[in-house]
Point group: C2
Chain length 370, copies 2
């Protein structure tokens, strides 16, 4: 076979839906020489990662840990553990990731009730209430920040409705955690999952989750084995719990990385971080509108970490993205599913959410769309 050359990739400015840019401190921590996954020093580090995750999730949940796969594995872990064959789940679908939840739930034998709205819209508690009055379920699953549309579903008051109907509330906060308020305990959310490569600015490879007491009880009341060995929380809780019983080998370097990324979140402070994400997105929104571009999502529920903008009539959307990448080293993304070829998706997440990146992107776009 041919010889494969030294790694030599361009320095990209990552303004897509993830991965976001990773601060040097995180890259350096990831490159730290390895220790064993059962080393007492690694076990201390696991505790620290959990403590830092509790901080960013704003929770006291003991079962707060990084699943050893990317965000989609985190997502699947919540379905696999809280759905048994025949369990009913209500899934709010108004974008790509709601669809994915339906696909996953179906594979675990759930009776899936979909609540559909057009892409780009959001759900309100009264809609969930109406749906649950018609059809009780075990789990209600909603996407907080829909990465495919840039819409943010408000969660205050949601759990009260869901709990009134005896269900568990499962929330996707992949594109919100660490960039937008996400208050697990205050909002009384039972189960949530996220990813590392969005607002946490850590490389992809871990799926942080948190599980509250109601959900944990439901897990322990299961009648069947979890239909997924790798993601089985009844075993993982003993690995990430006090016993540290071997289950699988944790991705050690990724845990070095997330620890450092979360330390950076803590150093900045959650409130300051939320404000930074919002301020830079407002700058972006103004800049895009000044270019005559139309934002897809109304301000009322527009997501500060990911913005969808309509591709203007007559513009080749792929060509613009290609030129941004080739001529400016800037990555933005196109649309998925119903939004394919219709929108660009611009992420300002974590370390990518910087004033200089916004101004550069607006300037580059203005030249390309001229």
């Amino acid at each position: 076979m041919q010889t494969i050359s030294d790694l030599n990739t361009p320095e990209r400015i990552l303004l897509g839906p993830g991965p976001s840019m990773v601060p040097s401190r995180v890259l350096q921590a990831m490159a730290h020489p390895l220790i064993g996954h059962l080393d007492p020093k690694f076990i201390e580090l696991m505790k620290e990662v959990q403590e830092l995750l509790r901080y960013v999730f704003q929770t006291k949940n003991q079962m707060t840990l990084p699943i050893s796969g990317t965000g989609s594995a985190g997502m699947e872990s919540t379905i696999a553990n809280f759905i048994e064959p025949g369990d009913a789940i209500l899934i709010g679908v108004k974008g790509y990731f709601g669809e994915r939840l339906c696909d996953m739930a179906d594979r675990y034998g759930a009776v899936v009730y979909r609540l559909d709205k057009p892409w780009g819209e959001v759900f309100y508690p009264e809609e969930i209430d109406a749906a649950l009055r018609k059809q009780p379920v075990k789990v209600v699953a909603l996407i907080h920040a829909e990465t495919s549309t840039g819409a943010l579903t408000p969660l205050e008051g949601m759990a009260g409705i869901v709990h009134k109907h005896g269900a568990l509330l499962l929330i996707d906060c992949v594109t919100s955690l660490g960039g937008i308020p996400m208050k697990i305990d205050e909002w009384d959310i039972d189960i949530a999952y996220s990813a590392t490569q969005k607002c946490l600015s850590c490389p992809p490879g871990l799926g942080p989750i948190t599980v509250g007491p109601r959900a944990r009880e439901a897990l322990h009341r299961r009648k069947t084995k979890v239909a997924n060995w790798y993601l089985d929380l009844t075993m993982i809780e003993h690995y990430w719990g006090d016993e540290r019983t071997y289950h699988h080998t944790a991705p050690i370097s990724m845990n070095f990385a997330i620890r450092e990324a979360l330390r950076l979140v803590q150093e900045e402070g959650l409130e300051a971080r939320y404000l930074r994400h919002l301020a830079n997105s407002e700058l972006l929104w103004d800049g895009l509108q000044d270019l005559g571009l139309r934002l897809i999502v109304p301000l009322e529920y527009r997501l500060p970490s990911l913005t969808t903008v309509a591709v203007p009539e007559g513009v080749n959307e792929v060509e613009v993205r290609k030129r941004l990448l080739d001529e400016y080293n800037i990555e933005i993304a196109g649309g998925l599913g119903a939004f394919k070829c219709k929108v660009w998706r611009i992420g300002l997440m974590g370390y990518s959410s910087r004033r200089e990146n916004v101004v550069l992107l607006i300037s580059a776009l203005s030249r390309l769309l001229r």
Copy 2:
């Protein structure tokens, strides 16, 4: 919450069952600034990783790729994709990881036929032939190098028997790939999985797999959806195939790392690498026997990447390991399952397989056991 300090872990000499030590070039590649997972440059890199994996697996199988989880996820991917509810599987159990395969297969609805032998033994083709004559199955699963016992099951002639009975041969080569001959095409193995943190000396976080044409046909003939979304090869084949259709976000930094680790394998050459692993293990075996220690596995099928040694009567095995770690920064492991408290497990894998590590370990052990 309290402030969490800078990452500061000791420099360990990793001589356990994995992770092995990671060369600086691999750590540096992993710390390379990120590019997007759909960036044309990353797509080139995916091709390179696949080509390098084909080299180390000694295969032309198109479906050769790293699963985005640790070795256990690679293991589960092979069960999830090649087992449908009601399918029969024959699993050879003579250690911990055979047990794990049974657990996984059961979760996917397999009819599991176990072939049990005492821990530390291996299977021969005639035993598999006899079992298949009694009970035909769809898949025969065997562990090549059993990490819990240090025994190496010889695979030459195995596939002929399995194929004669119309079954697929599935092989765990977690602790062999890159350190011991593993000839997928020559030995006609249908499905194999491995891990990165053993003889490849890459941090844990990916599960390399390879799937041959017979197995790929079986995958495409499935009547039911794969019961695991994250590991569904019918979708992953389009992400790692020519279409590069988005499935999940690949762990980008881990792919940088495995590319570099595999380049190092290629630079050394497989034959030289196998010889190095064997020579250093022979040095270890001699040294252990000179200390009066008993090796568990007979030379005939003793694994050159992982050695099990009996804990001498009256010695506190945990205390010895603790002192090796605290006083010498050397990690070795204890036993699992049937071997708990009875053996030490010493790994000489990848970059850990060096003469200086062997000599140091023997010397440290001799002081501690004096």
